[in-house]
C-alpha cells in the first residue's frame, strides 16, 4: 500500500510517498532530506505534532505556550483541555516550564516573556 504525505518539517513541504507492506515500511521516496524520512516514519506509525496555544496569567494577560516536544496528534484535544486549565504566576520567561509532563514526557513551556 502507498501513502502520500506532505512533510511539515520545513517550508519546502516535500511530497513523500511511503510504501507499506502491512505495518512494515518498504520504501520512502520524495523526501528532500533526512528530517523528512524521520517525519514519514513517525507519520505512518504514530503521527505527532507540537501543540501551541496560550494560557492566562493571574493578571489576565495571555502567555504564549508550546509543548517542548511533539505530542500524539490523536491526543491534541485532551492536551488543549489541560492547557486551558493552566494558570500562571508572573513573571514568566521564555522556556519556563508551566506544566510538567503534559503528555508522554513532553512539558508545556512559555514561548513569550511576560512581566
Amino acid at each position: 500500500m502507498k501513502k502520500t504525505l506532505t512533510c511539515i518539517e520545513c517550508p519546502l513541504g516535500c511530497e513523500i510517498e511511503v510504501t507499506m507492506n502491512g505495518d512494515e515500511i518498504v520504501s520512502i521516496v520524495g523526501n528532500g532530506c533526512l528530517r523528512g524520512k524521520a517525519y514519514a516514519e513517525n507519520e505512518v506509525t504514530c503521527p505527532k505534532r507540537v501543540v501551541t496555544s496560550t494560557v492566562r496569567a493571574e493578571n489576565g494577560a495571555l502567555v504564549p505556550v508550546k509543548t517542548d516536544a511533539p505530542v500524539k496528534k490523536s491526543e491534541m484535544f485532551e492536551i488543549m483541555q489541560k492547557i486551558n486549565a493552566v494558570k500562571v504566576k508572573l513573571p514568566v520567561k521564555i522556556g519556563d516550564i508551566l506544566l510538567e509532563n503534559i503528555s508522554d514526557g513532553a512539558n508545556l513551556i512559555a514561548t513569550g516573556n511576560e512581566e
Partner: protein
C-alpha cells in the same frame, strides 16, 4: 528622545529590529527605533504557532520566541527604542514627525531612515460579497489578535475565505479552541498558503479546502447566520447551480496583504505597482538617498527568516550611508519576463560589488519548469523547478563574477520545459 539621530528606524517588528542591530554592528550607534504598539516584535507577537526561524536558527520557534531573540540583541546594544509612538509623516529631507502621549507631536531629523512598517491585511471592501453587513466578519489577522492576544474566540462555526497562511493557521487555532471550521474557500485554482500549512492546519483536522470557490452570499441581519459558496469558472465568475450552503456565525477572510506605504508615498519615494513597495537597489536603498526599506513594507514575505536577512542588508547599508555618504552608481535595471509577477531589487548598482540575490514570485502554478535570468540575450543564471507556485517566493543568485560581465537590463522569466 533627542532631536537628531544618525539613523531612525520606523517600525519595531522583525525588520526594524534586525536593521537596527546590523546598523549598530556596522559602526553607527546613534539609532532610534520608533514603534506605535506597546511592545516590540510587530506581528510576530500574535503568531504564537511554531515554524519560525528554521533557516536562521535551525530550530522551530514560535513568533514571540523569534522576536525575543532580536529584541535581546537590540537591548544588549542599548539601542534607543520609543514604543507607543506613531510616525505621522516623513519628508524627503528625512524629517520624521511623530506623536506619542508623553510628548505630543514633534519632529526628529535623521541622516538616514529605514522604513520597516510591515504590511496590513486587504480589507473586506475589496471582497465584493453580496449581503448586508452583519457582525461576525473578521480578517484572519484580526481574529488572530482576538484569540492570541485578548483570549477571546470570535465565533463557533466558521467559514474562511482565502487560503493564505494566516487563514490556514487560524483554521487550526480556532479548531483547537473549540470552534468548528466548516470550510476554507479559495477563488484561485491553487492555494497561496504553504503546503505544510494545508497539511497540518486543514488535513489534520479534516477541514475541507474548496479551490476555485468563493463566498457569493453572506446571510444574517445582526449576526452572520450562514454563507453561500459557489464554484467559479476560469474568469472567477460564480457558476450557477454549484451553490453550497453553510450554517455559520463567523466569516474570516484571508485575502492577502498590502505593504503599508503611506509614509513612503508622503516622502515622494517611487513605489512599484507590482510589489506595492518602494523601488530599490540591491542594498534596499530607495530612489531617495539615505532612505532604505526592508521587510513586508518592501515586499510581502512568507517567511520571517527572509525578512531578517533583508533587514540586515538595509541596516548595514544605512550605516554605510551615514559613514560614507551617497554613492556614485552604475545602474542596471531588473525586469520581469514571462510568468513572473515581480522581481526585487528592481535596480542593481554595479559599482557596489558583491553578489545579488534576486527575489521574485511566479504568476501561476507551473510543473517542470526552468527559471532564468538573462541579459543581452545570454542566460546568466538559471534554476530548474519540479514545481513553482505563486505562494512561495523564489530566488536566483547572481554572483559577483556574473555581474561584472553584464551591461544590459536583466530579465527574469519562467518557461515550462518541453
Amino acid at each position: 528622545m533627542k532631536k537628531n539621530y544618525d539613523i531612525v528606524i520606523i517600525g519595531g517588528g522583525p525588520a526594524g529590529l534586525a536593521a537596527a542591530v546590523a546598523a549598530y554592528d556596522n559602526g553607527v550607534k546613534d539609532i532610534l527605533i520608533l514603534e506605535r504598539e506597546e511592545r516590540l516584535g510587530g506581528i510576530l507577537n500574535q503568531c504564537i504557532h511554531n515554524g519560525f526561524g528554521l533557516t536562521r536558527f535551525k530550530e522551530s520557534l514560535s513568533g514571540p520566541e523569534y522576536a525575543a531573540r532580536f529584541i535581546d540583541e537590540v537591548q544588549k546594544r542599548q539601542i534607543e527604542v520609543c514604543t507607543q509612538t506613531t510616525v505621522l509623516a516623513l519628508s524627503k529631507e528625512k524629517q520624521v514627525t511623530v506623536i506619542n502621549s508623553a510628548q505630543g507631536v514633534f519632529t526628529v531629523q535623521a541622516k538616514s531612515v529605514v522604513l520597516a512598517m510591515g504590511c496590513r491585511e486587504r480589507s473586506r471592501g475589496a471582497l465584493n460579497v453580496a449581503g448586508s453587513r452583519p457582525a461576525g466578519i473578521y480578517s484572519a489577522g484580526t481574529a488572530q489578535k482576538y484569540v492570541n492576544i485578548k483570549g477571546y474566540l470570535p465565533g463557533k462555526r466558521v467559514v474562511i475565505l482565502g487560503s493564505g497562511d494566516i487563514g490556514l493557521i487560524m483554521a487550526r487555532r480556532m479548531t483547537l479552541e473549540g470552534a468548528k471550521v466548516l470550510a476554507v474557500c479559495e477563488i484561485m485554482p491553487y492555494s497561496s498558503g504553504l503546503k505544510r500549512n494545508i497539511a497540518q492546519c486543514l488535513d489534520d483536522f479534516g477541514i475541507p479546502l474548496y479551490l476555485s470557490h468563493t463566498i457569493t452570499k453572506i446571510e444574517g441581519e445582526k449576526r452572520v447566520t450562514g454563507v453561500v459558496v459557489s464554484k467559479v469558472d476560469e474568469n472567477k465568475r460564480p457558476i450557477a447551480g454549484t451553490e453550497m450552503h453553510f450554517d455559520c456565525d463567523t466569516v474570516l477572510f484571508s485575502v492577502g496583504l498590502i505593504p503599508e506605504n503611506e509614509l513612503t508615498k508622503m516622502a515622494g519615494i517611487e513605489l512599484s505597482p507590482k510589489t506595492r513597495g518602494a523601488v530599490v537597489y540591491q542594498n534596499r536603498e530607495t530612489d531617495t538617498d539615505g532612505v532604505f526599506a526592508c521587510g513586508n513594507v518592501l515586499q510581502v514575505h512568507d517567511l520571517v527568516d527572509f525578512v531578517s536577512e533583508e533587514a540586515e542588508i538595509a541596516g548595514k547599508a544605512a550605516a554605510q550611508y551615514v559613514l560614507n555618504g551617497a554613492k556614485v552608481r552604475e545602474e542596471i535595471s531588473v525586469n520581469t519576463g514571462n510568468n513572473i509577477s515581480y522581481v526585487l531589487p528592481q535596480k542593481i548598482d554595479r559599482n557596489a560589488g558583491g553578489q545579488v540575490k534576486l527575489f521574485f514570485r511566479v504568476t501561476n502554478t507551473f510543473k517542470n519548469c526552468t527559471i532564468t535570468a538573462t541579459s543581452g540575450g545570454e542566460v546568466i543564471a538559471k534554476r530548474k523547478k519540479r514545481i513553482a507556485v505563486p505562494g512561495e517566493m523564489e530566488t536566483l543568485l547572481l554572483t559577483e563574477k556574473t555581474l561584472a560581465g553584464i551591461n544590459d537590463e536583466i530579465v527574469v522569466s519562467l518557461e515550462v520545459d518541453e
